[in-house]
Symmetry: C3
Amino acid sequence: MADINRRSFLSAGAGAAFLCTIGDTQVDLAQPGAAKQADAIAARVERPPLARASQELPRPVPQPGGSYREYWIQARSAGWNIVPTGRDDWHGRKITGKTSFRAYLYQEMTEGFAAPKGGLNMPGPTLYGEVGDVIVCHFRNADTKLNQAVTMHPHGVRYNPEYDGAYMGKYTRAGGFIAPGEEFTYFWECVPGSAGAWPYHDHGPNHALNTFRGLFGAIVISQKGAKVPDVSYTLMFHQLQPPITGLSRSFQCINGRSYAGNTPILKATAGQDVAIHVFGMDDNFHDFHMHGHRWKDTGGANTDTTTVGPSETITARFTEDNPGRWLYHCHVFSHQDAGMAGWYDVSGP
Amino acid sequence: MADINRRSFLSAGAGAAFLCTIGDTQVDLAQPGAAKQADAIAARVERPPLARASQELPRPVPQPGGSYREYWIQARSAGWNIVPTGRDDWHGRKITGKTSFRAYLYQEMTEGFAAPKGGLNMPGPTLYGEVGDVIVCHFRNADTKLNQAVTMHPHGVRYNPEYDGAYMGKYTRAGGFIAPGEEFTYFWECVPGSAGAWPYHDHGPNHALNTFRGLFGAIVISQKGAKVPDVSYTLMFHQLQPPITGLSRSFQCINGRSYAGNTPILKATAGQDVAIHVFGMDDNFHDFHMHGHRWKDTGGANTDTTTVGPSETITARFTEDNPGRWLYHCHVFSHQDAGMAGWYDVSGP
Amino acid sequence: MADINRRSFLSAGAGAAFLCTIGDTQVDLAQPGAAKQADAIAARVERPPLARASQELPRPVPQPGGSYREYWIQARSAGWNIVPTGRDDWHGRKITGKTSFRAYLYQEMTEGFAAPKGGLNMPGPTLYGEVGDVIVCHFRNADTKLNQAVTMHPHGVRYNPEYDGAYMGKYTRAGGFIAPGEEFTYFWECVPGSAGAWPYHDHGPNHALNTFRGLFGAIVISQKGAKVPDVSYTLMFHQLQPPITGLSRSFQCINGRSYAGNTPILKATAGQDVAIHVFGMDDNFHDFHMHGHRWKDTGGANTDTTTVGPSETITARFTEDNPGRWLYHCHVFSHQDAGMAGWYDVSGP
């Protein structure tokens, strides 16, 4: 009892024990073997009756002047190395031990899922649109290992309930349960309130575990005719933990990588209009800091360090004026020192 | 020593060990039996010398055009079921085990505390005002079980120190120590800076424990003559933990309830002006997400997921345009999956 | 294995195990003796080849109408009492046990480091500037105990990579490694985007540990000719934990002190223009609340409780209109009750 109480309180601020609800079962991911158990449960979740892709579904049309933006995206699990260089280039430190695990990733494909288009990355492809457009996202669950339904749930865009991409038990609609081997086409409308940068992620029956494994990406929508930044980056801040990875330690990651030289190396030239979109993609709160630069928060105040919560986005936009090699990092020191940091290289004009 | 160190660090990010200061004693709520101990200590806290309700107190008057808004509210403990349906309607899952505990609640009464007005709920009644009004809150400590002073401490409004409702040891003023059986009338001024949605909560000698038990509610103040939303909800995000409840597990709650079907079922119709006020009411940081909708942050940027800290409020206000059944939830996955989620049902125009 | 998993998850939300990277070694500060170990490693970190202060460095000049603002600041460790009064004046409670430790502090000196100017405090001196100015900060590592390089890394201002004050391994520039006994002069430009309040802190090879020990301070920059507040305070919210202090418990601090009467006693008079700058200076997220007052967030919305993340700043600015003794505190209850609270005394006009 003493132990239960203490544990509950220790974990309180951290958001309770790491409970995942999968179908009709709740699993504490903090227990050993829990990920395997969660996968087994997820594999048994039955297709909800309303979630049949074969039915007639609405087909939103673009606004006058807008267009369809078509993407072909598949989900599949794959080996992923968190520290491919084996080094932390900031501290000149060798990173020892196993750093690879089976991730779950969104992959962009050519039309009709004919062939991969670009690499297999964490995050998945960034989807672009302008206000008035409709993003048409052909999605395929191409995984052959984990044997469970997954989805794409977008933030920011408008969508009919069929295209929510959320498993909701017996209320689940067509796009909320895409079983292995199945395809589904999402229609997502870029309305005026959609302008901005947003995450998308799995929201199927095993959403917490699969999102933490890497099933996430970004959507960037601009106002019609708005100036697009010269340079734009999307940075997902997230933790890869032992129960997710089976590895012996936690990694604080940006885009699935830990430690400078592995995390994205941002590049720009003096004079360029730069936008850096930062997303929280785990259960922690993060704090984006960039050395040598500042930007405006949404209220117009000057800042160089901004809190970003789970599935939130903050955008640092500025005109580049400061050549050099700069650190960017989460300003939570224990995240920063566990890998959540990278380089920003600015060349002269 | 090793253990102390480790524990301190584990709990660091979570806000330190769960220390409560009650009168002249500090209690670590993470220890078993601590709530009972805290109550016993609170029962022994003596009335501070300046906290005599009998004295002559200032009586603020409304601004020209404003009026008094009178409420009669009592505090009392009562049995509370966190999962009254025994089910999670999202995942179609039965919730087993004991889910009831002794909560501490604010209850609205008719004039003169004659009779209950409406039910006994968590949160307590929402208090309304317009800029220029004075909220007159007649408060009674009607509890007969916990034997300790409680108060009402409001956010957002202006008040004389007598009406702060905060226990401050020997500096405590009249409204900061309302012993069992006592009454006190608070006067709270709705000044221009008060427009918005705010929490109120206990700030007596045992404020942390009692607030976590449910002694909280909302105040909604509008600008004089401002359009009131067609539909308005107040959602308190908070955790009910074993040391508070004596139950064997933690619940992530909205308005004292866990899991869809128990948490508030929000309803609106297409075309309506909707305001959802979300409050952090524990020691965690939360992140409100609503499917299928977006709103503006206070700086005018588009968002659909917003961080909300302890006793902070964020408001999602939008014109409803998207019929269907939608999920709303905290986007911290481990909160979401432990009950901090609910339904929003939108009917067509 | 079970234990590793559980620990990882418990600490997950709290920002992972408390890993610090010092030079080429990673240390888990949650382990006993880790601070001593970190210091020993830091003492062995070699000067990076590019970090030679003797080289020719750029010397930015003020904008027309601007000027140089010259400061002489040294870093040194010193004994520091977290609870000098031995009491919590809020709850009238005696604070027992050892409350002193070896802190690491920035100290303002007279020209040429001739003599101390004012006391030795946590935080260090506040640096002031106006847009167009250049802050010239002569820095000396004057510590004789901890035997390691430290720096000053500023937020908000613009600086050449030489003046970043960040250790970056082999990429470290001149200002990023100031060894014991050495001096270095930083030039920091107050550009238009610098207007606001910002932290500065150590960013040397052992930055997490040394910042947590107290190596931090504030920079306040105003727009050229802008009205300066009548009263201005800088409040650093941070935790002093056993692995940092060697003490047996954690303290939730404001400016290095815990509990009302030890934390800053703010004072103002009705009618004054008051600015309170609140900084997060640890790995936690905090939430500043002031009783009896409200202010505008950066977007113009009314608030009286505002989240502040690590190395972020929020400013509460208001015209004082409410005489009395008021509490200010972090609204995370377990922080508030562990010392993160203080008095604000307002006298009549």
